[in-house]
């Protein structure tokens, strides 16, 4: 009898110490499976084991320290039901295997109408993968990869594959292969994303009618690479410091009928790099302080450049591979603002210069033949080289803008003028009473 009492006591103790609730909490998959459709699952501030599959509509909300950690063998979260909402989670530990038939991700979505928001993703091949998934929303995702040096061993921040009508907004991607990769994806919208230290911030393959607005691409090998994709809208984006021998702000390769408006291309190796692309419109963009403002290959035709500000670039625009004469540098009598490097008169004050801006360059052949030329684009020697070669026969017209806009007046800071004046007064006052040793003879007042 005593033994029986002891046994029952120990058994009841075991039940009390490890209640069923806690056992289930360790196994997130079991909790998900036990929930009803449309239920809300609130996770605690702890680490859950990953590689979970969500196969019913539900909402899963974490807290600031909720982590779902995969075992490194597959997708950490697979969404296989529509109307799933994931919020406030840190997801890590996806498989990095490149030999498997499947490309793994931290969050892989196979269905429509899902929402992923406020998630942090680390240590995974792809961040969020939309596979034939439509009408999903991905917002406020913070995705970090292994850094710029690692290209092949890691995937993309957000990978959109055969997926249409998705909304991607306010996401931050840092150090992945491509920031956002679109493959056969149509009518997706990307707003206010911030992409840095990747290979291509944005990479488009065979994806039409997408819209990009207010995204910022900084310090990538290439800002945005649009390949074989048509009818895109790129507006109000910033392509900044995409710097390196092969770098560019925006590459258009076999991309047609795209509308590129109000974007900023600042301090890139090339602002715009256009190859085998036709009928693209570039309007009201700011292409400033790039080494080459616009690199236009002869295989590209019927581009229209109007109302852009193209200034302070080492080379404003260069045409390579022969003369492409079908590009328009003005539209409806309005050309571009080429900055102070091309002084203009505007006697009738209509904002349009009185004579065309024509740019000659002898560098085109060198840039085309020898990639090391890019190393010299910041050198002051370039201007001398251009001037000396101006008289030689290899000097060609790079563009002719018949209706150039007169340069916008620069704004100056009055604080700066005050500081300059103050320093000047100080130096002059000092010079009145002292002896100058370095620039004057000792013992003699100057």
């Amino acid at each position: 009898m005593k033994k029986m009492t002891l046994l029952s006591f120990v058994f009841s103790l075991f039940l009390l110490v490890i209640p069923e609730k806690n056992m289930a909490a360790e196994n997130l998959q079991a909790i998900i499976d036990s929930m009803k459709e449309g239920a809300v699952l609130k996770l605690e501030n702890k680490t859950y084991e990953g590689n979970i599959v969500i196969n019913k509509p539900l909402t899963m909300i974490g807290r600031s320290k909720t982590v779902i950690k995969g075992d490194g063998t597959g997708n950490v979260i697979s969404v296989k039901a529509p109307h799933v909402k994931l919020s406030q989670l840190t997801v890590s530990g996806g498989s990095m295997d490149r030999n498997s038939s499947e490309e793994y991700a931290a969050i892989k979505i196979y269905t429509d109408h899902n929402v992923v928001e406020h998630v942090t993703i680390r240590h995974s091949f792809h961040g969020v993968y939309l596979s034939k998934a439509h009408d999903n929303t991905i917002r406020y995702a913070d995705i970090k990869g292994m850094g710029k040096g690692e290209i092949a061993a890691q995937g993309n921040g957000i990978h959109v594959f055969y997926a249409n009508d998705n909304l991607l907004e306010h996401n931050t991607v840092d150090g992945t292969r491509d920031g956002m990769f679109f493959d056969y994806a149509y009518r997706n919208k990307s707003y206010d994303n911030n992409i840095t230290n990747t290979r291509y911030g944005l990479h488009y393959m065979y994806s039409d009618e997408n819209i990009f607005k207010r995204n910022v691409f900084t310090m990538n090998t290439g800002g945005a690479a649009v390949m074989n994709s048509n009818h895109l809208k790129l507006e109000d984006n910033q392509f900044i410091i995409n710097y390196g021998n092969q770098s560019f702000g925006l590459l258009l390769l076999q991309a047609n009928d795209n509308d590129i408006k109000n974007n900023t291309f600042y301090m890139n190796q090339r602002g715009l790099y256009i190859d085998q692309a036709t009928r693209n419109t570039f309007k009201s963009n700011r292409i400033i302080q790039n080494q080459i403002g616009i690199e236009l290959w002869a295989s590209s035709n019927e581009q229209t450049f109007t109302l852009n500000r193209i200034s302070e670039n080492t080379i404003p625009a260069v045409t390579l591979g022969g003369n492409s004469e079908n590009n328009a540098w003005s539209k409806d009598g309005k050309g571009n603002d080429w900055g102070a490097a091309f002084p203009l008169t505007d006697l009738n004050q209509d904002g349009i210069g009185d004579f065309p801006v024509i740019y000659h360059s002898s560098l085109h052949q060198l840039i085309e033949d020898q990639e090391l030329t890019n190393l010299f684009l910041k050198s002051p020697a370039i201007s001398i080289y251009e001037k000396i070669n101006a008289t030689l026969k290899d000097d060609e017209v790079m563009f002719q803008d018949s209706h150039p806009l007169t340069a916008a007046k620069a704004q100056h800071s009055w604080i700066l003028y005050l500081v300059i004046a103050g320093v000047a007064v100080l130096i002059l006052r000092k010079g009145r009473h002292r002896l100058c040793i370095i620039f004057g003879r000792n013992g003699r007042k100057i």
Binding site: K148, G149, I151, N194, T196, N197, R199, V216, T218, M219, N220, T221, Q238, I240, I241, Y243, G244, N245, Q246, S247, T264, Y266, M267, L366, D369, Q370, E371, L372, T373, L375, F376, K378, S379, P380, A381, I382, I384, Y385, A410, Q411, H412, S413, I415, L416, V419, I420, V423, L426, I427, K430, G431, R434, L435, C436, I437, I438, F439, G440, R441, N442
Partner: protein, 265 residues
Amino acid sequence: MHYIWKEWKENIRGKGLWLSISIIVLISVSILFRPTALSFDKGFYVLLINLFDTLIYFIPILCLFIGAFSIFQEKEQKTLIMLLTKKDNYPSFLVKKSLGLYTVVLVPLIVWFSVYLLLLKFTLQLDIKSYLVFVAAIVLMTLLFLQMGAAIGSFSRSRMQIIGYTIFVWFYFFFLHDFILLSFLPDVTYENVKFFSVIYFLNPLQSVRMYLETGMGVYSFGHMSRLMQAFMWTKPVFFLLGNLLVWLVVSVGTAIVFNRKEGYE
């Protein structure tokens, strides 16, 4: 130590150093206030690159002049003869004088860039590692051109000679070196690109720039072609150190071998 103190006293009484430092201060402040509609997280890097691109126009020539006139002044005041007859020989004089020059020019420069960091803190998101790389780039460039200036001061006999040599050295590194390389560019192949790279990085302005841009993580070396890989056969910091070594040795050597103890005046 005596030399440092002597150099300091001479410079604070003169205008050259103050003029140079105030130019650098003005440029850095003006870039800070530069009106720009571009506002973004990476403003810090943009500012440092722009600042470097502007300073590169001033620092080399100012340092050449400061270095050259500092040595020449010893000749002018006959203090060089005094020093050499007492206990120093020319190499030891040159080394001590150079150390004095480095201290007097670099200390105010480093102090200013420390203050400047505080100013930046109010406006931009800082990256201290990148800033240290930037300051190192400026310091190394200053040091190199000061030494070249000291060499010019050593072998020049008059102020006009100093101005002539200084402008030539500045013009060579600023325009001529790259211009000559640009002329040879069509003949560069995979076989001779390494040699071309050595000559390219012999220009201190190019090696400092490459060090700065890669050190700050701005310049990306991803997806390099075979030619580019052969061109960048070692790390940018080694190109810079090699450059520094070559020009310091050449400058000191030239100064010792061709020095003239007295000026015309």
